[in-house]
Structure formats: structure tokens, C-alpha cells
């Protein structure tokens, strides 16, 4: 058995051991045999499937920033369209009798809500919908839309 650094030196330099006895030679041979066996034991040959999987993951990751950019652009488009729609469908309901400075009531009217509301109820609530009946209303519509 080696009792100094000779073993490391011999293994590192890969020199042929000359000044060592038979037992030490056997020990080196045994170690190198183990290393060779371990090399074969741990050898790895990756298959094509693994390669495809790895590359597809990388491709996905590569396109993540572009996907985020497209999603952000889509969100902004929806946001601006929504804001534009709401601002174009705004009406201002003003009290005819009140002074302009303190009586204007601004309301956003969502058209879709009117489908389910009883028309009579609406007529009573906001007289300006009842123009055909010549009903007097205290309010007038100032905005655009519909």
C-alpha cells in the first residue's frame, strides 16, 4: 500500500511505474481498472428525443419576450378602444332650470343596460326619452353618442 504521495504523482503523470514494488503496481492497476470501468458506467449517449425536447424548451424561452410584447400591445389596444368607446358614448344631462355652473349632471349611459329596463320606468325617471309625447322634462341631453 502506498504511504506517500507517490500514488497521486503516478496517477497524475500517467508515467509507467518503475521504482515501485509488485504490490503497488497491483494497486495502481486496480485503481486504473476501476476508473476505466467507472468511465464506461457513467458514459452517456443522449437520444434525439432529449435533444428535441431541450431545443423546443429553448425556442419557447426565446420567444417569451416577443409574446409578452404582443400581449402588452393587445392589452393597450383594448384599453384605448374601450376608453374611446366610452368617451364617444357619453351624454351630459343638464337641468334646464338650474344655472349652468352648478346644475350639470354628467352620466355615462351604457346602451346595453337599457335593453332590460322597463321603458315606462325609464320614461318616468328621465323625461327626455319621451320627446314624441311632447312631455315636458326638466332635463336636456347635451352629449354625443348612440
Amino acid at each position: 500500500m502506498f504511504n506517500n504521495d507517490n500514488f497521486d504523482r503516478l496517477i497524475n503523470n500517467k508515467n509507467k511505474p518503475q521504482d515501485i514494488d509488485q504490490q503497488e503496481k497491483e494497486e495502481i492497476k486496480k485503481y486504473l481498472k476501476f476508473v476505466e470501468a467507472y468511465k464506461q458506467k457513467t458514459s452517456y449517449n443522449p437520444g434525439e428525443n432529449t435533444k428535441d425536447r431541450v431545443l423546443s424548451k429553448i425556442k419557447k424561452r426565446k420567444f417569451i419576450p416577443y409574446r409578452i410584447a404582443v400581449a402588452a400591445a393587445a392589452c393597450l389596444l383594448v384599453l384605448f378602444t374601450g376608453i374611446d368607446f366610452i368617451s364617444n358614448n357619453t351624454i351630459i344631462i343638464a337641468n334646464k332650470n338650474a344655472s349652468e355652473t352648478n346644475s350639470e349632471i354628467e352620466r355615462n349611459v351604457d346602451l346595453s343596460n337599457f335593453e332590460d329596463i322597463d321603458e315606462e320606468l325609464v320614461r318616468r325617471s328621465v323625461g327626455f326619452f319621451n320627446e314624441s309625447d311632447n312631455t315636458e322634462s326638466d332635463y336636456m341631453v347635451l352629449g354625443t353618442g348612440f
Partner: protein, 187 residues
Amino acid sequence: MNEKKLIEGLKKKKVWAYEALYDEYAPKLGSVIKSYLKTDDVEDVLQETFIKVFKSIKKFRGDSKLSTWLYRITVNVCKDIIAKRKKRKQFLTDFQEREENYNLNPKSSTNVFKEVMDELSYEELIKVINRLSEEDRLLIKLRDVDGLAYSEIADIIDKPVGTVKSKLHYARKRLRDMLEEVDYHVQ
């Protein structure tokens, strides 16, 4: 392929560069994973390693060889996996089961290897490998099997060269003692 060109391609996230990198380094890195984690299921770990390379290639300054940097990433991924396994007890149980499978049903190249080895020697080899610590296995693998320089190993495991030499010296000594104990046959 020219390493500089390959690194440029990797930094520009070119798929051809990752394909070339895989072709060149997957067998080597897979072998390190197989040795360090003592498992045949290296695909997931290899995949994680390449994704980590993809994420951090911009940080690669070229101070060391690309292969050294790749080995370091692989070792770090393996260390994370070992830490996770140790943290979760159920993972540990799975690992032991896998270890048994590893001993009894070696896959692919292992089967071929077993065929050319004497049955008794094979069992002895497995016994010795199982008794070696993770660090000992890694050091012996990098130095004696893959033939890396001490300075490269020092870079990979992030330790001074002197420490690497000392650790490897003791790892070899432990291995020799084990080989002596099991009376590993030389044919």
C-alpha cells in the same frame, strides 16, 4: 466549431448554436450528472442545465473555458437537486427506490457494460460507487475519468487549487481503501 463563434451564437440566442452546444457537450455533461447524482435518469437534469445556460450565457465573460463554465453550471444544478432531495423526505424515498432500480436494472450502455464485465466485478463496482460520497465521485470523475486540469476543477467547484488537490488525494485514498476492502478483481 470555433468556440468564439459558438459563444456569440449562444449570446444571440441562435438555435443552431444551442444545437451545436448540445451535440458537443450533452454526452460529457450527461456523464457528469449520471456520476454525481448516481442515476440513469439524466434527461430532466440535462434539460434544466441547458435552460440555465440559455438564461445565464450573457453573464459568461470568457474568463474560463466554455467547457469549464458548462461543467460548473451542471454541478450547481446537481447540487440544487441534491439539496432539494435532502429537504424533502419523500424525495429521499424516491431516490432510494431509484437507487435500487439503478443497481438491479441498469439501462442502455450499462447493460452492454455489464455484459462485458464479470458479474462479481460489476456488483463490486456498484458497491464501491454507492459508498463513495457525492464530492468524491465528482472529483474522481472530473480528474481521473475526464482528465480535467486541477485549475479547471477548482473553477468548477469554486475552491482553491490546493483544496482540490488535497480533497482529491483523500478521495483517491478512500477509494483505494474501498477497492481493497471489497477485493475488487482486476481482470
